[in-house]
Symmetry: C2
């Protein structure tokens, strides 16, 4: 159940109530693809950096260790020792971005594993079965994520099929939620809006999927080739057709600036790998701009990454030390970087929530867009 607490322009301050606790929105989900956050970060650490929702991947966990193994072990929450909400991606995006030799049919997708090449079939029902085995809080619909730009004809056919798949997802999850040995019988399904860069397809698709009255809706198929301006335009086109009292999730987005822009256009949920991926390359976010710690000027810099930051890294270690760790290829460098960047993202969302509550979101956004564009 989504409770819209306050709006400030299009920006929304909400609460999403789940069986695993309340999610304060806008929220950034911290990505743990394989039931672990890259950079040696654990679920104990996630709590310390203020993570509300962890995101794992159906495709990856189906291959390793296998969703049936995780079900036998009591589900993903128990497996990774995380009692807060988990959202699982449907596998759709990974099937299209990672798997080889894929063949799309009405029933689903035939493809080869990117690990051992074995043949796998995944359709809406299989994706729901896997996500049900994982027992996540929120299951994402199985969709086709097309590249931008694709032709109008391809985008149209694809998103019409995605609607048919969504109906099958809903029916299958309803069935699974009613089975006696299902781990999370209150698993929720989010639908995903597609349509490439074509406004009319996006709108029609959103109107159709909103009729299913799902617990939440995502905008998918962005940040896959189009410009930022196109992305913002599509959000503006789709948003008026999204249910007001359901959470809205912009999948795979993005930079701190992307998030500010999307919140100002009415988005509530975000996820992106750049928080952790950038950190693993010594690219760090701060309230005053971004920095790359490999830069020689940090060799003798004994300040924390961000002197105002209260993250586990900034409370204990200096730029010079972390730079040394990266240069010496010590894993600890990545860990300290990831902890900092995740904390930064989670804190950013907290600041956004506060700004909305105080009717100051636009001023906050304008100031931070300037701050974040600095290169330290």
């Amino acid at each position: 159940m989504f409770k819209l607490i306050k709006t400030n322009g299009k920006a929304r301050r909400g609460e999403f109530h789940t069986p695993h606790g309340i999610i304060q929105t806008p929220v950034f989900m911290n990505v743990g693809t394989l039931a672990a956050i890259k950079g040696a970060v654990s679920t104990v650490d996630l709590k310390e950096v203020g993570c509300q929702v962890e995101l794992s991947n159906t495709y990856h966990l189906h291959l390793r260790p296998g969703d049936k193994i995780i079900k036998k072990l009591g589900g993903l929450h128990k497996f990774m020792n995380w009692d807060r909400p988990i959202l699982t991606d449907s596998g759709g995006f990974q099937v299209f971005s990672l798997a080889a030799l894929r063949k799309i049919k009405e029933e689903g997708v035939y493809f080869n594993s990117h690990i051992d090449g074995r043949k796998i079939f995944m359709g809406p029902e299989e994706s729901m079965q896997i996500q049900s085995n994982l027992g996540s809080t929120i299951a994402m619909a199985f969709d086709e994520c097309i590249e931008n730009p694709s032709t109008y004809e391809y985008a149209k056919a694809s998103c019409e099929r995605t609607v048919r798949w969504l109906v099958r997802c809903k029916n299958e999850l309803d069935r699974l939620n009613s089975l006696p040995d299902t781990i999370n019988k209150k698993q929720m399904l989010f639908g995903i809006n597609q349509g490439g860069i074509y406004d009319d397809l996006r709108v029609k698709n959103m109107q159709e999927i909103s009729k299913l009255d799902l617990p939440g809706y995502a905008i998918g198929g962005l940040a896959v080739g189009e410009s930022h301006d196109e992305m913002y335009r599509i959000i503006e086109v789709v948003e008026p057709h999204m249910p007001v009292h359901k959470p809205r999730y912009l999948m795979g987005v993005g930079t701190p600036s992307n998030i500010l822009e999307a919140v100002s256009r009415g988005i509530d949920f975000f996820d992106c790998v750049i928080a952790s991926r950038n950190a693993r390359h010594a690219n760090l976010f701060t309230e005053h701009g971004t920095m790359n710690l490999l830069n020689a000027k940090y060799e003798l810099d004994d300040k924390p990454i961000d002197p105002d930051c209260q993250c586990p890294t900034c409370r204990h270690y200096s730029r010079a030390y972390i730079r040394h760790l990266f240069k010496a290829k010590e894993m600890l460098g990545m860990r300290l970087g990831v902890l900092h960047n995740l904390y930064f993202y989670n804190k950013l969302m907290e600041n956004i929530r506060n700004a909305i509550e105080n009717d100051q979101f636009e001023a906050y956004k304008e100031k931070k867009l300037k701050d974040f564009s600095s290169r330290l």
Copy 2:
């Protein structure tokens, strides 16, 4: 200052007082070669796993980031944010095991860096200067660590030179400790006993170096090719000639069983990379024996690595989960493994200290030698 509190057979329970706090002995030093513990473990973590003394490497830190950089940043304690004792290895062992094209002369060793091949000279004075720049609590003497077996003639010439080098180390450290800008003016020098596998050389060498009245003494050149029985015999031969009221450090040793055997022969200090290295290969120590988590039988095992263990890993994560992390090559697997093994070693030393205090060391040792030989 070393305070011998209690003996139980040859086993000793002591306290080593340093400017960075008291070390309770017997003690296992946790290895952080490059000012970081491999496996993404930080100094904050070291406190959580009960580490008393951290060990870093002169050779490695001289190359990266450079000891002069660390000095400018206030020394190694400040650099890595660790306020407890640090022991620095002299670089001797690494020059002989890692560097290429080394040439040993009376003045010291000429060699090429294993990183970029550049020519470096290191003698007793240089080693002391580097360790003084690092500002460690305990500096180790610069010695030649010969392979076992070496010829009698070579071992004799080498350990006679090592005694001449030790005198130079002492003089140089005395000079450095009196300089106004030295970071730790109370830096202590430990001498190192050498002599290969030749009892008479070992004894003569120990008698000579003990005359220098240094704050502590190590037995070096073991665990480099000889059998365990030879190692124990050499400890038994050397030990009666080691000062009673100085700590005794067996360098680079060893397994939990090696440590029990060496404590029973009068050793106080240990260090070894196997605690962390084994963990990074999923080889874990428990009170009931060793296990390799890659073994398929742990796939559905939801118990902690050791159900009786209170380490940060065992308090939160299962064998099945950590096994998955190793299989999926997630860095978090290594981190959780290393945290467990370091905790295990530090706890082992605590148990050893308690057993000595209670006059039960031999019984404890016999029981644990059996436990540790089990393969789970």
